[in-house]
């Protein structure tokens, strides 16, 4: 049975994949290149001074992570940007903000508690 917890974990795995895919400078370069225009694997290999096999591997990692989609037309495999996953990265940045917002909310509670304590100590004196 697919529980909510599993869904959450699955999402994390997907995001982990994207981060791993983006941890390589060549792959980040490929993403930037595809932001500008769709390219064939041959074009990408030329651009990044790599062998076709090497570029195929990088594209496969990006495809696995859902950051890139490829389509073979005739003999040419064209790479395009997959947009869906980038939203998840944006969601992580959002999570950073949420973490700090939640942290500061919790800090406020601790500080309020300290304030109350101090006041009651004063009253006792």
């Amino acid at each position: 049975m697919l529980t909510v917890n599993h869904m959450v974990q699955y999402k994390h795995i997907q995001v982990d994949d994207s981060f791993a895919a983006l941890s390589d400078p060549t792959r980040r370069g490929v993403i930037e290149q595809l932001c500008r225009a769709d390219s064939s694997i041959t074009e990408l290999a030329d651009k990044f001074h790599m062998t076709l096999t090497g570029m195929k591997k990088h594209v496969a990692v990006l495809e696995e992570a859902g950051l890139v989609t490829t389509q073979k037309i005739g003999r040419v495999r064209t790479c395009k940007l997959g947009t869906r996953k980038l939203d998840q990265e944006a969601a992580w940045i959002e999570n950073y903000r949420q973490l700090w917002a939640a942290r500061f909310d919790a800090l406020e509670q601790v500080v309020e508690e300290l304030k109350r304590k101090e006041k009651s100590d004063e009253n006792r004196r």
Partner: protein, 160 residues
């Protein structure tokens, strides 16, 4: 500029992010909550994040160091966060390094400014380079570059 509840966020430059928040209490109490481990543990890892603080030592003085270990139910191991306090001025300023990210870690500066019994807290995270800042933002979800590197290596072996 972006607001989340009462906290404001800003990417101030290529290398710096800033969060600000006002607390309705004197600065010395905000500082106390930040400097005493038993208080710090009560707020640093909000319950909603699902992780718990396993251990926490804070030697909050200039030149002192800190170490935090956290555990998330979905992760097999604890995550350690550690560094040094570069500058501590009780009630007004805390500056620390984040060394779990190696030499690409940010330097965090918290300043407290008290006015009419309220405290404006501002927290800046300054990265050594734009790349490190971007990377930290990318990796913020797990906060651990090492994990991604391992996963990266793993994925590379899986590729056809």
């Amino acid at each position: 500029m972006k607001t989340e509840g009462k906290t404001h966020f800003e990417r101030k430059s290529d290398r710096e992010t800033v969060a600000t928040r006002t607390f309705n209490a004197p600065a010395r109490l905000v500082f106390e909550a930040w400097s005493k481990a038993d208080l710090f543990k009560q707020w640093w890892m909000p319950k909603s994040m699902g992780a718990t603080i396993v251990s926490c030592t804070l030697d909050m003085r200039t030149g002192g160091s800190y170490r935090l270990e956290m555990k998330h139910p979905s992760a097999p191991n604890t995550m350690a966060f550690f560094g040094k306090y570069l500058e501590v001025i009780p009630g007004s300023r805390i500056v620390w390094t984040n060394e779990e990210s190696g030499d690409q870690g940010a330097v965090t500066t918290v300043t407290l400014v008290e006015k009419d019994g309220q405290t404006l807290l501002s927290m800046s995270e300054l990265y050594p380079s734009k790349e490190a800042c971007d990377e930290a933002w990318e990796g913020m979800g797990e906060g651990m570059g090492e994990t991604f590197d391992q996963l990266d290596a793993f994925l590379a072996t899986q590729k056809r």
